[in-house]
Amino acid sequence: MISIRKQLTVEAPQERAFRVFTANMGLWWPRDHHIGVAPLKDCVVEPKANGRWYELGEDGTTCEWGKVLAWDPPRRLLLAWQLGPDFKYDPALLTEVEVTFTVIGPKSTRVDFEHRNIERFGEAAERLRGGMDTGWGQILESYVRSAVAEAA
């Protein structure tokens, strides 16, 4: 499995860290990263399991990014990132973003972040090709195998 992992310490209580990450995502999400036509107004993580994760444009349109797989405030959040290699929502693609918030003091929280299943972008890319040829998928598979072997 190919993953991106990050760890950071936030000088904020656990509850606030979780709240800012989820309810206030629109405050900190890079403004230039969005897929809709209109400028980005907000990023919404619905506060429940099976909730939506989407962007809201200034013109009121929404674009799905994925969904909430697990909602466990203020300790853990599991999101599904479902934007494919062409930056379109792909319901058949599921990559997981897990964020855990651990108390290290009354005003200090450790945030462990992982975006995993990156290798699934290869399968999504193959689907985009409409199965016309399997070249890319096969090469990606061997790439993933060698990357895994390298990591071991």
Binding site: I4, F21, D32, H33, I118, E119, G130, D133, L140, V144
Partner: protein, 118 residues
Amino acid sequence: MLAVSYCLPLAMANQSGVQLDGFAALADPTRRQVFERLAKKSLSVGELAAGLPVSRPAVSQHLKILKDAGLVTDEALGTRRVYRLDPRGIEAMKNYLDRLWNRALAAFKAAAERETDS
């Protein structure tokens, strides 16, 4: 309804001599169209140009930038040269997401530390 246009981060001018990395090359709308069409099917320059409102030399220039960025690769197929997505694209995707999350998490940390508990 899903919007079909994209606004990618890391947009930067393609200054001469500057190689765009990975998905920065996709900041240009025509290059995104080229990339998207190649995601579906391997195509020649002529086939790509036929479906786009730009000249064939312009398509070639876009392909060169995409190729330099490691997103697209080409191969001779008989008398034709066809372009397809580079298999190393998954690495580009990982690098792209890695940088995106670095920026996002740094901004999240700043926002969480700026907020007060009301």
